[in-house]
C-alpha cells in the first residue's frame, strides 16, 4: 500500500494524474468484468436456480416451484448418481496422479538437464498433440486399442495372448492420461525451472546426496507446480463426457454423460442442472485445498 501513501502525500497534480489513471483502469476493466459477471457468474447462478425447479413429466414444461427433490434424488444411495459421481472423481484422481508421475521426470529433464536445443524439441513434442483435434486423438486411441488394433497386432506377432482393453475404464484412464498430459508438464516444468541452482548446490555442500536433495529441496519447491497442473488434469477429466462416450465400456458413464442424457433425452433440465452443481462443488473444495498448498503462485 506504499503507492497510496505517496499519492496522498503528493500535491493535487499527482492526485489528478492518479484519478485519470484510475479512470483509465476502470474503462479498461469494465468490459471484461461485466462480461465475467454476466456470462460466467450469471450462468452459474441460473444453473443453481434451475436446479431447484422440477419438470412436469407429462407436458415436459418447467415447474417453477422451489424444491430440493433433485438433490435428494442425487444423494439417494438407491440411485446410480453417487456411484457415477464417485467413478468420475476416481478416474479424475487416477489420471491426475498418473500425469504427475509422468510429468515430473520429463519436466525435470527439460528444465534442468536438457540443453537449449533438446529442450526446444521436447517442448514441441509436448505441445504438438494440442494442435490436433481432441476428437482425432481419441479416435486414434480407439484404433490402437481395438480388437484388431495396433496393440493386439503387436502382441499377436510376439505370440502373446490378446488384450481386451478397448471399451473399459482402463481405456478411459489411458486416453485421459494421454490427452491431458501437456497440461501437467508445463506448470511442473515452470516450477522446476524456477528453483535457483544455488539451492541445490547448498544442499550438496551440506552433504545431501541426490535423493535427499530431491526429497527435501526439489519436491517441496516443485509441489505448487504439480498442484497447479493437477487443477487442469482433474477439472478437465471431471467435466469430460466425450471420452466416456467413445472409449468407455458399459459401466463408464460420467457426470457429464448423465447431464447430457437428461437434457437430450427427456429435457429434464432442472435435474441436469442439479447434477452439474456437483462438479462445481467438487472443484470449489479442490481449489480451496490447492490454494492452501500455494498452487496459485505457480500458475
Amino acid at each position: 500500500m506504499a503507492v497510496d501513501v505517496t499519492a496522498v502525500a503528493a500535491g493535487p497534480r499527482t492526485r489528478r494524474a492518479r484519478l485519470r489513471l484510475s479512470l483509465k483502469a476502470t474503462g479498461l476493466l469494465t468490459p471484461p468484468v461485466a462480461a465475467f459477471l454476466l456470462v460466467y457468474v450469471g450462468a452459474l447462478v441460473v444453473l443453481f436456480v434451475s436446479s431447484l425447479w422440477t419438470v412436469d413429466s407429462f407436458t415436459g414444461k418447467l415447474v417453477h416451484h422451489w424444491t430440493l427433490s433433485n438433490f435428494r434424488q442425487i444423494f439417494d444411495t438407491g440411485q446410480p448418481y453417487l456411484r457415477i459421481a464417485g467413478r468420475t472423481m476416481g478416474i479424475a484422481a487416477a489420471v491426475t496422479l498418473t500425469d504427475a508421475v509422468l510429468a515430473f521426470p520429463l519436466g525435470y529433464f527439460m528444465a534442468r538437464i536438457a540443453g537449449g536445443r533438446a529442450r526446444a524439441v521436447l517442448f514441441v513434442m509436448v505441445l504438438l498433440p494440442l494442435w490436433a483435434s481432441y476428437l482425432v486423438r481419441i479416435y486414434a486411441w480407439r484404433t490402437i486399442l481395438a480388437h484388431d488394433g495396433a496393440i493386439n497386432w503387436t502382441l499377436g506377432g510376439l505370440g502373446l495372448p490378446d488384450q481386451n482393453i478397448a471399451y473399459t475404464n482402463w481405456a478411459m484412464w489411458i486416453v485421459f492420461s494421454y490427452v491431458w498430459l501437456p497440461f501437467m508438464v508445463l506448470p511442473v516444468y515452470a516450477a522446476l525451472e524456477r528453483i535457483p541452482d544455488s539451492y541445490i548446490e547448498a544442499s550438496a555442500d551440506m552433504g545431501a546426496r541426490g535423493l535427499r536433495t530431491l526429497r527435501s529441496v526439489i519436491l517441496p519447491l516443485a509441489l505448487p507446480g504439480v498442484i497447479a497442473g493437477s487443477i487442469f488434469t482433474f477439472s478437465l477429466t471431471l467435466g469430460d463426457f466425450i471420452t466416456p462416450l467413445l472409449v468407455g465400456g458399459p459401466s463408464s458413464s460420467f457426470i457429464g454423460n448423465v447431464v447430457y442424457s437428461f437434457i437430450g433425452i427427456n429435457a429434464n433440465i432442472p435435474f441436469a442442472a442439479a447434477f452439474a452443481v456437483i462438479p462445481v462443488l467438487i472443484m470449489g473444495v479442490y481449489l480451496t485445498i490447492a490454494r492452501r498448498l500455494g498452487a496459485f503462485e505457480a500458475l
Binding site: 407436458t59 415436459g60 481395438a146
Partner: protein
C-alpha cells in the same frame, strides 16, 4: 400514468394468454378439404437428409415453396424445438419428422394439429398398419402422415456366431459374453420387455411400451444382467459398424442400415428378425399447430409419400418406405434394394413389429393410468447404464 399503463399491459397480457390456447383449440376442428396455393415457404424440423436436395429441389421448383431446414439430433430436440416460442411450432415451424418415441408427446402436448389424410393421395396405398398407427393417430384423428420406417434387427458375425441365432436370447445369454452390443437409448427397455413378453408370460406384458411398475422392474433386472455381458452400448450407427468391422463385437441389436454398410464393406455380417419378433421405428411428418404455411406443408406431405420420392428417400437414408409402390423405383435405382429393406415382404411382416411409441402413463391395454411414463424409463435407463 404509469400505474394505468401497467394495468393495461397486464390486461393485454392476460388476454393474450387466454387467447392462445383458445385459438389453438378452434383451429383443431374443421379440417381443410382442399390444398390451396403454396405460401412460398416451408419450415421443417427434420432428421438430417429428410429433405435431401435430390428430391427437395424438384419440389421447390414445382410448388414454389422454398424449404428452410432445422436438423435435429434427437427426438427430444425435436420436441423441444416444437415447444419453443410458446409451443405448436412457435408460429415458425410447419412440419416435424417425428419418430414414434416423440410423436405422442407432441400430440398430448398440443403441439401438432389434425391432418386430413384424404388430401394425401398416396395414403391409401400405404402398408395397412402405417395408415393409422398408434404413434400418430389418436382416437381416429390423424396428426400427420407416416413416411418411412425400419425394424430393429439382430446383427451377427456369420463366422463367429454359429449356429445362426434365431432368438433375442442370444444377447441375454453368456455364450457371447463381452462381444455383445446394444443401443444406448432408453427405448431399448422395450426390447427387453418384448423378450420377456414372449419368454415370461407370467409377467403379463401386453405391449412392450406400456409397462406397469413390476413389469418395468423385470425389464430393468434383465437389462442389468445383460450389462455384464456387453462390450459396450453403441451411440451412433457408425460406432456399431466400426465395432463389428474390427471384431470388438460379434452380435448385437441394430438397424438394416448397419448390416447393409457392413456387407458392402465385405464384412461377414448377417441380420435376422428373431422368432420373438422385434421392435422398430417409424417416422411421421406431423403438422405444427401454429404452422404458418399449411398449404406448403400439405403439398410436402403429398409429395414425399409418392412412390418415386419414397424410394429416393429410402435409399438416401437407408430405411423402408411406407408406400409399397416405391418398390419398383427402389430396384430401378439400386438393384435388389426393395428386398434388402424388406419392402417386398407381405403386409403381415411389418404387422409383427412393435413400433416405437412414447411410453405414457395411460395404458391402452388395461384402461388405467398406472403405466410408467418416459421420465421413468429414462431414469431406469440411467440406473442400468450408470
Amino acid at each position: 400514468m404509469t400505474r394505468i399503463n401497467r394495468a393495461h399491459v397486464l390486461i393485454a397480457a392476460v388476454a393474450v394468454a387466454l387467447c392462445v390456447p383458445a385459438a389453438g383449440v378452434s383451429s383443431g376442428h374443421g379440417l381443410p378439404t382442399t390444398i390451396g396455393k403454396g405460401e412460398g415457404s416451408l419450415n421443417l424440423i427434420e432428421w438430417a437428409a429428410y429433405s435431401d436436395p435430390s428430391f427437395a429441389k424438384p419440389f421447390e421448383r414445382q410448388t414454389g415453396c422454398k424449404i428452410h431446414r432445422k436438423d435435429a439430433g434427437s427426438s427430444n430436440e425435436m420436441v423441444a424445438l416444437m415447444r419453443s416460442g410458446g409451443g405448436g411450432g412457435g408460429g415458425q415451424y410447419d412440419l416435424v419428422s417425428a419418430s414414434g418415441d416423440a410423436s405422442l408427446r407432441l400430440i398430448y402436448g398440443g403441439d401438432v394439429q389434425p391432418v386430413n389424410v384424404k388430401l394425401i393421395p398416396s395414403w391409401k396405398d400405404f402398408l395397412p398398419n402405417f395408415r393409422s398407427p398408434a404413434h400418430n393417430t389418436v382416437k381416429g384423428v390423424h396428426y400427420g402422415v407416416s413416411v418411412q420406417w425400419g425394424p430393429n434387427t439382430l446383427i451377427y458375425n456369420t463366422k463367429k456366431v454359429k449356429p445362426a441365432p434365431t432368438s433375442w436370447g442370444a444377447i441375454y445369454s453368456s455364450k457371447y459374453k463381452g462381444k455383445i452390443t446394444v443401443p444406448n437409448n432408453p427405448i431399448q427397455i422395450a426390447d427387453a420387455a418384448l423378450y420377456l413378453m414372449k419368454t415370461k408370460p407370467s409377467l403379463g406384458i401386453k405391449d412392450p411400451y406400456e409397462l406397469t411398475k413390476p413389469q418395468l422392474d423385470a425389464a430393468v433386472k434383465l437389462l442389468k444382467q445383460q450389462k455384464g455381458l456387453l462390450k459396450r452400448y453403441w451411440n451412433s450407427a457408425t460406432d456399431e459398424i466400426a465395432d463389428f468391422k474390427n471384431g470388438d463385437v460379434v452380435i448385437g441389436a441394430g438397424w438394416p442400415y448397419q448390416t447393409l454398410q457392413l456387407q458392402a464393406a465385405k464384412a461377414p455380417i448377417s441380420e435376422t428378425i428373431p422368432k420373438e419378433s422385434t421392435t422398430g421405428w417409424a417416422d411421421t411428418w406431423m403438422l405444427a399447430k401454429r404452422a404458418p404455411h399449411p398449404n406448403c406443408a400439405y403439398l410436402w406431405m403429398k409429395y414425399v409419400t409418392q412412390p418415386s420420392v419414397e424410394a429416393k428417400q429410402a435409399l438416401v437414408f437407408g430405411e423402408t418406405p411406407v408406400n409399397p409402390k416405391a418398390c419398383s423405383f427402389m430396384n430401378k435405382a439400386q438393384k435388389g434394394s426393395c428386398a434388402d429393406y424388406h419392402l417386398n415382404e407381405p403386409a403381415s411382416y411389418s404387422k409383427t413389429i412393435f413400433f416405437w411409441k412414447t411410453p405414457i402413463a395411460q395404458c391402452g391395454w388395461q384402461k388405467s393410468s398406472d403405466c410408467m411414463d418416459y421420465n421413468a424409463w429414462q431414469q431406469a435407463w440411467t440406473q442400468i447404464t450408470g
